[in-house]
């Protein structure tokens, strides 16, 4: 790896800490971002020659803070430029700052930064875009390409999100225990949104699939800040388990391969092992939550050597627990898959039909319903359901998958027809 690639990774990793600290200092996201940019530029000038500083994060905060003050002064035109030498010569001050920045400081800064991005006033797409831009430092071009919108539209979306956050006001005080828990729940949800954005875009080559890696990186960061939070362990475990199947999810033509048809030797053992270790740790806390339960379900799939070895009754139980803890029609829809395996399509269909009002606009609802109807030989109804699913598909791969089921339907239909 070249020096510059190395420095680039260092910047990305330092970004949440540094930006979080600068935001606390300047209380303005734009100034903080500019100050961070400036600090990175200065680092690019000095690090390759002098080598990275002992504590890159403290270095960047120190230099960013100075250049931010400089910029604010320049804008107010009351003071001239400070001497370049003063800012470049950071040796002693930087180590001093590092001493004072302890873990809890980092923690709240990063949490605040993440919290701003998932501000409840923002729609999910803006939350994701803002987090990827501000916390992860992805370029507007990269984000726009992944969301399949023009660069100017994405630029606008991010600017609007920032304005909305600024107008809503950002709480800068150190959060209390209850507030911290609430923030963490929102932040976890946003990270999972980012993951899903990457996951559902799917397939190698699509820009958005990089979001999945980024979400995992943020999940690890969050867990290192709060190492004893079982739900964060659950969230990370869940993302790792889903990610472990990435190489098995699509065939050579980019078509979706269902879980039960996947070549399990392609599942990434390293990610599964890490997830199972996290899940073991989480369960010891005896504070089950939605992420832990979903991860536990995903883990049962990972533990099955072959699709037919899957412990569906345990999965059904976990879904029932999840329904009690976190009732949602989507959870019930997922349980219907387990019910279909355990008790057959008829009972599963009854469960699915009960969700019709709530999930009428949901791709998977019509997809699963179509599948169950097809199993029951109700081809005509299955056809209608599949058509509806195609209309709601998010990606060409999803649509193609349903079309494939439709094809199978027309092949088997004559045999079923009376």
């Amino acid at each position: 790896m070249t020096d510059l690639a190395w420095i680039d990774i260092a910047f990305t990793n330092a970004r949440p800490q540094v930006l979080g600290a600068l935001l606390r200092y300047f209380r303005n996201l734009d100034i903080a971002e500019e100050a961070f940019q400036e600090a990175c530029l200065r680092a690019l000038k000095t690090w390759p020659d002098k080598g990275p500083p002992r504590d890159p994060v403290a270095w960047l905060i120190f230099v960013g803070r100075n250049s931010g003050i400089d910029a604010v002064r320049k804008q107010s035109k009351t003071q001239g430029l400070p001497d370049e030498e003063v800012i470049s010569d950071t040796g002693d001050a930087e180590s001093d700052l590092a001493e004072r920045l302890d873990g809890s400081n980092y923690r709240d800064d990063i949490l605040r930064l993440l919290f701003i991005c998932c501000h409840p006033d923002l729609p999910a797409t803006q939350q994701i875009a803002l987090a990827l831009r501000v916390v992860s430092g992805l370029s507007v071009t990269q984000i726009a390409r992944a969301f399949l919108v023009s660069e100017s539209a994405m630029e606008q979306r991010i600017t609007r999100a920032k304005a909305r956050v600024a107008a809503a006001g950002v709480p800068f005080e150190t959060p209390g225990a209850v507030e911290r828990t609430e923030r963490m729940a929102l932040v976890s949800a946003m990270i999972y949104l980012i993951y899903n954005e990457g996951y559902s875009a799917g397939g190698p080559g699509r820009e958005a699939s990089a979001f999945a890696d980024e979400a995992i990186r943020l999940g690890r960061l969050l867990l290192r800040l709060f190492p004893a939070e079982p739900e964060i362990m659950g969230l990370l475990a869940l993302m790792l388990l889903q990610q472990s199947r990435n190489m098995a999810r699509f065939d050579a033509d980019g078509q979706i391969i269902l879980l039960e048809d996947q070549d399990r030797s392609l599942w990434c053992r390293t990610l599964i092992d890490e997830a199972l270790a996290l899940l073991d740790k989480a369960i010891r806390h005896r504070r089950p939550g939605p992420y832990q339960l979903q991860a536990a379900i995903a883990a049962l799939h990972s533990r099955a050597k072959r699709a037919q070895d899957t412990d569906w009754s345990e999965i059904d139980l976990l879904y029932q627990t999840l329904e009690r803890l976190h009732p949602s029609p989507v959870v019930t829809l997922n349980r219907a898959v387990a019910v279909a395996k355990l008790k057959g399509p008829e009972e599963a269909l009854a469960l699915v039909e009960s969700l019709a009002d709530k999930l009428d606009g949901y791709f998977y609802f019509h997809g699963l319903r179509g599948g169950l109807l097809a199993q029951l030989g109700r081809s005509h109804e299955a056809h209608i359901a599949f058509d509806r699913a195609i209309a709601l598909a998010h990606s060409p791969a999803e649509a193609a998958h349903i079309r494939h089921q439709l094809d199978r339907l027309s092949v088997t239909a004559p045999a079923i027809a009376k």
Binding site: W6, L223, P227, D273, E274
Partner: protein, 124 residues
């Protein structure tokens, strides 16, 4: 003398290598290990999961305390280790230098002589 070489680095960075960076690094490391492996001096080589997967047992007054962690305050984390049979400390240092070159970025390597080494029986 048997030496343990403990490899420390910033795990945030190491765990965000791309697949290509990861593979290139592993290739370089395997090349560094090769002569020792051929000479039959290379013992276990281990790469650790991230510290987020770790649990710590701390001796308390009565019951040992089980805590999640290690915690995130330190800049570098123990990410893996080697056990190698070296004639001299100099040899161990030379090898560690090669590791440092093969690994991108910063990082440090602690060289600790072993008192005892029992390979155990776990099948791999």
């Amino acid at each position: 003398m048997l030496y343990a070489i403990l490899c420390y680095n910033d795990e945030d960075t190491v765990f965000s290598w791309s697949k290509e960076e990861e593979q290139a690094t592993m290739d370089r490391l395997i090349a560094v290990q090769a002569p020792l492996r051929e000479a039959g001096k290379l013992g276990p080589v281990a790469r650790l999961m991230p510290t987020t997967a770790a649990t710590t047992l701390r001796k308390g007054k009565n019951e040992p305390l089980v805590i999640d962690g290690p915690f995130a305050e330190t800049k570098e984390q123990l990410l893996g280790f080697y056990v190698i049979d070296f004639e001299t400390l100099d040899e161990a240092i030379e090898f560690s230098k090669k590791l440092a070159i093969a690994n991108p970025g910063a990082g440090s390597y602690e060289i600790r002589p072993l008192h005892a080494f029992r390979p155990g029986t776990m099948a791999t």
